[in-house]
């Protein structure tokens, strides 16, 4: 998922960088913690954990891609959206500067796609769903699972947008790019959702006090939350439905042909997605149905995972009383 330099146009990087900078500044402002606060080391540790987690790539059912944890939702659920966003940003900064994993110039875009969409967007979805389902452990896990999956799709969609803005050719069919990305990322998202859900149910069962309730001060306003949730959900639906729509006379095949042979070649590379996904051209050739099926299967798996993991958690949770000592340090 890490975009390398040379793929996005400098002006796109600039805009994305500016937005990310704003997001980080805003996060820092919202947190307003003492440096001595416990939140600082916990954020650092979360960053270290996500960093380690991202080194492990999971294979994707025979597809020529593998995904890795993004961690945005996990971090946001455990630390809140602001610290969560910071944690993931830090991971990306370190990866770019000290491991040359993801470009320096595309750092802003990477932060936008993974930290901001992951933590803020993911958290908005999570908080909204949790609002609806209640405060139980089961609700927490299912909300996080769904949010994790959507956050991956969101990141992918945003990448598409950035990429399309970068390739100056007007004629690229966004639906072609989108359907390819959806195929990959609805599946990568399943991995993300499973890991997030499993880890969270574990933590909830052992130390529920480490997972704050979304109503704590510092969460997003209700309206904003619903807006973002709606947006992300619409995105998922659009992504899944997109290939169907493109079966108009010129069709997906035509779009794909255009995409591959006519439009992109003179301008920008086609999808040099990242270092993990090897976007072989075939999927674009596939008829619409399998592409959408992948999206639908992904959705189904995520919902089933949400229910199952939530069920496991419900059985395990030991209520933890909170008494005098718990006033945050």
């Amino acid at each position: 998922m890490h975009i390398r330099d040379g793929i996005l146009a400098p002006e796109v990087c600039l805009v994305a960088g500016a937005i990310s900078l704003g997001a980080i500044t805003y996060s820092l402002r919202r947190l307003r913690f003492d440096l001595e606060d416990r939140a600082v080391p916990l954020t650092g540790m979360m960053a270290a954990i996500v960093f380690a987690g991202q080194m492990v790539n999971f294979p994707l059912f025979g597809l020529p891609v593998s995904g890795h944890l993004l961690g945005g939702v996990l971090a946001a659920v455990m630390l809140g959206p602001w610290a969560g966003c910071l944690a993931i940003s830090m991971v990306l900064i370190v990866q770019a500067v000290l491991f040359s994993d993801g470009g320096l110039m595309s750092l802003g875009a990477n932060i936008l796609n993974m930290a901001v969409v992951g933590a803020w967007g993911g958290y908005a979805v999570y908080a909204t769903i949790r609002r609806m389902l209640g405060n139980g452990a089961a609700a927490t896990v299912s909300a996080a699972v769904i949010a994790a999956w959507l956050s991956v799709l969101g990141a992918a969609a945003l990448f598409c947008a950035e990429f399309l803005c970068s390739s100056r050719s007007a004629g690229v069919d966004p639906r072609g790019v989108l359907s390819l990305m959806v195929l990959y990322h609805s599946l990568i998202g399943v991995g993300e959702a499973l890991i997030t859900g499993a880890v969270l149910s574990f933590v909830l069962a052992r130390r529920a006090d480490l997972v704050p309730t979304p109503n704590a001060p510092g969460s997003v306003g209700t309206i904003g939350r619903f807006a973002v949730t709606g947006l992300m959900a619409a995105l998922a639906v659009a992504a899944i439905v997109a290939p169907f729509k493109s079966e108009s006379p010129d069709g997906l095949d035509a779009a794909a042909q255009n995409l591959k042979f006519d439009k992109l070649e003179v301008e920008r590379p086609p999808l040099v997605l990242d270092d993990y996904a090897i976007p072989v051209p075939e999927p674009v050739w596939w008829p619409a149905l399998p592409v959408s099926l992948a999206g639908i299967v992904g959705t189904l798996v995520v919902f089933i995972a949400a229910v199952v993991l939530a069920g496991i958690t419900r059985r395990n949770v030991v209520p933890i009383r909170v008494a005098d000592g718990s006033h945050g340090n």
Binding site: E36, D209, A323, D324, N329
Partner: protein, 252 residues
């Protein structure tokens, strides 16, 4: 700064409950005069570590934010959130588990951590690091990674880290565990030379006899006995009741 007529450490009805509901300390009241060497003994789970951590404001006690009802007073100053920095400079704290204390990638950096935070300049810090490590016999381990040391070696590095801060009050939690007899003797020697106030929680009663003049017996978060070392430790009644044993040297 500190007047010598003020106790170095004073506890006023100190209570503490862990977030999981366990009451670890219950209304502890006591005072330690400047320069005294006091041992805190008691069975596992008595609350010794919990008590010591309060001297440094390391546990989130509600009293930290209330200036008037201070439960812990160090050299005349209530331990409150705003004074924590100041107080932590005065009080050197050795954790029971060395792994909790060591977090830098090299021994040198770890020992230097405290002095650097005191705002000393680089040369001074290096001198202190060297002195601290030499005192515990680990001068040749400067560049090693603490997680690749043996447990006893790690314990010694922790000690060096505390000594390098030059505190006026030393609070040691189980300093002799995992130390070999020679290192233990060296430690005894260092602590005897130390001019400030000393508060030690330990199960090593021989060490207490050699070092401390006063013993506090703690059990279930309450002070059960308090008195001169020899008298408390040679009293079979007290010792037996609180999971201890009269040491060989005091048996008649």
């Amino acid at each position: 700064m500190a007047h010598s007529d003020q106790p170095a450490m004073e506890l006023r009805r100190l209570s503490f409950r862990y977030p999981n509901g366990r009451l670890a300390l219950e209304e502890i009241t006591c005072a330690v005069p400047q320069g005294d060497r006091v041992a805190i003994v008691g069975p596992s789970g008595a609350g010794k570590s919990t008590l010591l951590m309060h001297l440094n404001g390391l546990l989130p006690s509600p009293s930290l934010s209330k200036d008037e009802e201070a439960q812990v007073v160090i050299e005349g100053q209530a331990v409150t959130r705003s004074r924590l920095q100041q107080i932590r400079r005065q009080v050197g704290f050795l954790f029971q588990d060395p792994d909790d204390q060591l977090f830098c990638p090299t021994v040198q950096e770890d020992v230097a951590f405290g002095p650097l935070n005191l705002g000393l300049n680089r040369a001074e810090v290096l001198v202190r690091v060297e002195r601290g490590l030499a005192a515990v016999g680990m001068a040749d381990c400067l560049t090693r990674n603490p997680s690749e040391l043996s447990t006893g070696e790690r314990k010694r590095v922790c000690l060096a880290g505390i000594l390098a801060c030059d505190p006026s009050i030393l609070v040691l939690d189980e300093p002799t565990s995992n130390l070999d007899p020679r290192a233990r003797r060296q430690l005894l020697h260092i602590l005897r030379e130390f001019a400030g106030t000393l508060i030690v929680a330990t199960h090593d009663l021989d060490f207490v006899i050699d070092l401390c003049s006063r013993v506090l017996v703690l059990e279930s978060g309450k002070v059960q006995a308090d008195g001169p070392t020899e008298r408390v430790l040679s009293d079979p009644l007290i010792m037996d009741r609180h999971g201890l044993e009269v040491p060989w040297r005091l048996r008649r």
